[in-house]
């Protein structure tokens, strides 16, 4: 800028640092809570600096769970979350890329009808069809199964649109050349379209993994047995209603574990995350 305002620059740094401290504080506080004994976590005021029980708290929740609230070990819940998140992510990517490919590269009867039907799913989030969807899943005997957790969440209008938009930018000449060389539609898909879609798939992967890992309402309905709980549901079940004595050190250790995988994905794949988030809305 033409001017050099040190005061404004300083002000901006102060605002950013203050904002980040406010944003990070709950996580710091949670981390500190996860490193103390249960007794220390019942004394007011609560500690602001870490204690010496980090290892034993994390080992306890991972291997035994939180006594009184749930007997399933958190490692099992983490595994459930991982299976659900990966299945949702990979499933959504596969079925979306296939249907987008069909809609862009073929002209067949009912094509636009199918397109609009996929579009309408955008307007039917699980929250507005809770009860009947639960009924369908329980009629199919999929309560407390991974299929029941994953299948109803796997249709994706946004991912289909994203792939459709991208396919439309692939030059027609590529396809004409491939056809001239005698490549059929599936050959063209594997050898040309899929490799070109790599960056889009990476960006979608990050966004959808976070979406899948953080699911709440659906697993809450579909998992009734502790060995099927996802970690996000597990934490909620560990908190007794009201202000009753929870083992806050263990609950907070579980919260840290629940945040870790998606946070790592965002931080390590930040470039793809930003791309995915911004493009998803287009």
């Amino acid at each position: 800028m033409v001017e050099n305002r040190r005061a404004l620059n300083l002000f901006c740094h102060v605002v950013l640092i203050a904002g980040i401290v406010a944003i990070l504080f709950p996580v710091w506080f949670t981390f500190v809570a996860s490193t103390h004994t249960a007794d220390r976590m019942r004394e007011v005021p609560l500690p602001l600096l870490p204690g010496g029980h980090l290892w034993e708290n994390y080992v306890t929740v991972l291997t035994h769970g939180v006594a009184g609230a749930s007997t399933a070990p958190v490692s099992r819940m983490m595994l459930n979350s991982l299976v659900m998140a990966l299945a949702i992510t990979i499933g959504k990517i596969i079925i979306s890329i296939l249907s987008a490919y069909a809609i862009v590269y073929f002209r067949f009867p009912l094509r636009m009808f199918f397109f609009w039907m996929i579009f309408i799913t955008l307007m039917l989030p699980v929250e507005v069809r809770i009860f009947p969807t639960y009924k369908v899943v329980s009629d199919l005997h999929m309560v407390d199964t991974y299929e029941g957790l994953v299948l109803p969440l796997i249709a994706s209008a946004t991912a289909t649109f994203l792939f459709r938009q991208f396919f439309l930018t692939i030059p027609d000449s590529l396809m004409e050349a491939a056809r001239m060389d005698g490549a059929g539609p599936m050959r063209f898909f594997w050898d040309v379209v899929l490799p070109l879609s790599r960056t889009n798939i990476a960006a979608l992967f990050v966004i959808l993994f976070i979406y899948g890992w953080n699911q709440y309402l659906w697993p809450l309905l579909i998992t009734t047995q502790e060995h099927m709980y996802t970690v996000v549901i597990g934490i909620k079940r560990m908190i007794p209603s009201g202000d009753a004595a929870a083992d806050w050190n263990l609950v907070m250790a579980t919260a840290m574990l629940a945040m870790l995988p998606p946070a790592l994905v965002v931080i390590l794949m930040e470039k793809w995350f930003v791309k995915g988030l911004i493009e998803q809305e287009k």
């Binding site: 033409v2 404004l8 620059n9 605002v15 950013l16 980040i20 944003i23 709950p26 996580v27 506080f29 949670t30 019942r42 007011v44 609560l46 602001l48 079925i95 979306s96 296939l98 249907s99 069909a102 809609i103 590269y105 073929f106 039907m117 996929i118 309408i120 799913t121 307007m123 039917l124 989030p125 929250e127 507005v128 809770i130 009860f131 009947p132 009924k135 369908v136 109803p152 796997i154 439309l168 027609d172 396809m175 056809r179 539609p185 599936m186 976070i210 953080n214 709440y216 996000v232 934490i235 909620k236 908190i239 202000d243 609950v251 629940a258 945040m259 946070a263 965002v266 930040e270 911004i278």
Partner: protein, 296 residues
């Protein structure tokens, strides 16, 4: 960009096979349940489903005559407005600062955006621990410094404050990223020209930058309202559970409560249909806006 390809592969059974998985899921888990919800919203039945009567729109009439439902509507409106405005405000402030500073912008960005990875329900657990009655750190400090009595399980205003903070905290990152992208796309020459004409940073922001960001702001307003309406279920369920006395019972939570705990199937179905109408209108607004945006 073309909306259609000029050349196609010859049609056979292949395209149907390719769309089949998506369509099967859509039909079984989306269309059929949505149809069921609409059908049930016009039925009157008891909790066991043994006595069923077709009553046209009586359930809706009853719904909109129910003061508790209307109160839930008001709560949702208030909640989503608070979440949207505070999230957009903080997101814009941080993005503007991050765009202005020359050093450390990248690091700031990483630190601001990662809470997006935290599940809404986990965010609620974190914040309700800080604000826990008697035990929480914030509760202790409010008492010790200001003599303020905090107990979100008793006072409805405090419960609302808590769920707004927990919901906004996670959403700041999203608003921040979109504002930052918007700010970075504003040509430097515009703001520089204004600076040469003697406009200070505040004036430049108010008269040039903010008007240019208005499409982004409007888009984020819609997205944040959708988020507050539908994705904050976990926040409510993991902190206040709609209480105290339904003070934080947003519409989505009421559908769940009435259907799964109250076993009022017709009432819950009618509420689902109202929510569908809301999502459809919000989606239409969003798409109309995006279409206009494409023309720039």
């Amino acid at each position: 960009m073309a909306a259609e390809k000029r050349t196609y592969f010859p049609t056979g059974w292949l395209p149907y096979l390719l769309v089949a998985p998506q369509l099967a899921i859509t039909l079984v888990f989306f269309m059929w349940p949505a149809g069921q919800a609409m059908w049930q919203s016009m039925l009157l039945q008891n909790a066991f489903g043994t006595n069923v009567q077709f009553v046209w729109f009586d359930n809706f009439k009853e719904l909109f005559a129910d003061p508790r439902y209307l109160a839930s509507f008001r709560t949702t409106a208030e909640f989503s407005l608070l979440v949207a405005v505070s999230g957009i405000g903080v997101g814009l402030l941080l993005a503007a600062c991050c765009d202005y500073v020359l050093r450390g912008a990248k690091l700031y960005q990483t630190l601001v955006i990662w809470p997006y990875a935290v599940a809404p329900a986990v965010a609620a657990v974190l914040w309700s621990f800080i604000f826990a009655p008697s035990l929480g750190l914030a509760t202790y400090l409010l008492k010790a410094w200001f003599g303020y009595d905090w107990n979100y399980l008793l006072y409805s205003g405090q419960a609302m404050t808590l769920v707004v903070i927990a919901s906004t905290w996670r959403q700041i990152s999203y608003n921040f990223l979109f504002f930052l992208a918007g700010l970075q796309s504003i040509p430097r020459s515009l703001t520089e020209a204004a600076a040469i004409d003697g406009a200070g940073p505040v004036k430049r922001f108010a008269t040039i930058v903010f008007p240019l960001l208005s499409p982004t702001t409007f888009f984020l307003l819609v997205v944040n309202v959708v988020y507050a309406f539908f994705e904050t279920f976990g926040v409510i369920d993991a902190s206040t559970q709609g209480g105290p006395i339904e003070a934080t019972q947003i519409l989505v939570y009421k559908v769940y409560r009435d259907g799964f705990q109250g076993l009022d199937l017709s009432g819950s179905a009618a509420q689902s249909v109202v929510l569908m109408a809301i999502v459809i209108s919000l989606t239409v607004i969003q798409f109309r806006y995006i279409e206009r945006r494409v023309q720039y």
